[in-house]
């Protein structure tokens, strides 16, 4: 190394780091600008796919964010998604409201579970549920993601007085969810997360709908 001869002065050190930083900054900004639209598009697509699945019949969506205890429309620029608390109004092809996609999260068996569920304010029912992120035990807890029998619990689920999880196969009332045998705790966690989403957003959603009816 040329630097073996001692005495690279402070100017040289600063210049080297400055140049390295400048070069790296240029590269990063270029790559960022090139990839950002694609990344946002991917994220929006993933979220939309989930919303359209949990709210049957929906084809477009509108984001609302929580501001001062009220839901206000989120002004998106391009594919930007809101970063904080938000719910998504799901509209059909004619632009009529068919339901809401509500993201919620909470403690699972292993780690935090993130999910989104559909809610129909007309008949006050959950219309579907999809797990977005979880690290539940493969083969047991992760059945909450793909077990069709379990997922069908959420297709027409009453939420009043609250959603309750019951032992596998013993569902009798419309607000009950059959747990998965072998994954009781994960099933209960999902129910708990939906209830917490309900208590956080339902009053906001009904306030929003009232204000939109009489503009």
């Amino acid at each position: 190394m040329a630097s073996d001869k001692k005495g690279a002065g402070p100017f040289r050190l600063i210049a080297t780091l400055g140049l390295a930083g400048l070069f790296s900054g240029l590269v990063l900004v270029t790559v960022y600008l090139a990839t950002q639209p694609l990344i946002l598009e991917n994220q929006a697509k993933a979220l939309e796919a989930a919303i359209y699945q949990v709210v049957p019949g929906s084809e477009t969506r509108k984001a609302y964010v929580v501001e001062d205890g009220k839901l206000v429309p989120f002004n998106a620029q391009g594919n930007n998604l809101p970063s904080g608390d938000a719910v998504f109004a799901a509209l059909d092809a004619q632009g009529k409201l068919v339901g809401f996609g509500i993201p919620s999260e909470g403690a699972g068996f292993q780690d935090t579970i993130k999910l989104i569920y559909g809610y129909n304010p007309e008949n006050k029912r959950v219309t579907g549920m999809q797990v977005l992120e979880s690290r539940e035990t493969p083969g047991l807890g992760d059945k909450i993601i793909k077990d069709l029998n379990f997922l069908s619990n959420f297709e027409n689920l009453a939420i009043e007085p609250e959603v309750v999880s019951v032992a596998a196969g013993s569902k009798k009332n419309e607000n009950e969810v059959d747990s998965i045998s072998g994954a009781t705790i994960s099933s209960k966690a999902i129910v708990k997360i939906i209830n917490s989403g309900n208590s956080k957003y339902l009053s906001l959603i009904s306030a929003l709908m009232e204000s939109e009816e009489k503009p």
Binding site: G25, Y32, R135, K192
Partner: protein, 192 residues
């Protein structure tokens, strides 16, 4: 409050940084031969992690909003220099504390557990307090894993094992069994 406790316990035992995320393996295998050293390294980790969490929160909320692509770079540079400053301050203010933790500080500054903490905290969008709780939990978890590992290895040292198992292989098997044991903590807060 419940949320803070969940974050703490989750980071400490359920999703222990070393045994479930494989972060900080270098010191875990390198410095886990004596309980005393392992314990002090663990304390130093708690200390650096708390500083890291504060730095990361500050950077995320005030500096990186407009330039998220600089996150990795900024985290490394800022964390390393902050730890160095704090190290100098401790050296001046409390030589006793410096003697106990000092030699470990440079060693763990660019440890993957430290950067991992900053990145996980960012990905999960923790608030300031949640971040601190996460850092304390993760640090306590590392300390626990290090001390347990050191304790077992001190015993294993005097037991008669076939020579192919000694060294790294033995450490990995012990870690595997510890990790298995820690899986028992899953579900700690989600029952009922």
């Amino acid at each position: 409050m419940g949320n803070l406790l969940w974050i703490f316990a989750s980071a400490m035992v359920i999703n222990n940084f070393t045994l479930a995320y494989f972060l900080g393996l270098c010191p875990f295998f390198g410095v886990s031969k004596k309980i005393d050293t392992a314990f002090r390294l663990g304390l130093a980790n708690i200390f650096v992690m708390t500083i890291t969490s504060v730095c990361a929160w500050f950077l995320n909320n005030y500096v990186l909003i407009h330039a998220p692509y600089l996150r990795v770079m900024t985290f490394i540079v800022v964390i390393a220099s902050t730890v160095q400053f704090v190290e100098m301050a401790i050296k001046k203010l409390s030589p006793a504390l410096f003697k106990a933790l000092g030699i470990f500080l440079p060693l763990i500054t660019t440890n993957c557990a430290i950067l991992g903490l900053a990145l996980f905290q960012t990905n999960r969008g923790y608030s300031f307090i949640e971040g601190i709780s996460f850092a304390l939990g993760a640090g306590a978890g590392l300390t626990l894993a290090l001390v347990l590992m050191a304790g077992i290895r001190e015993e294993a040292e005097i037991s008669d094992l076939p020579d192919v198992i000694q060294g790294a292989a033995q450490a990995f098997l012990i870690a595997g069994i510890l990790s298995l044991a820690f899986m028992g903590f899953a579900g700690l807060f989600s029952g009922a």
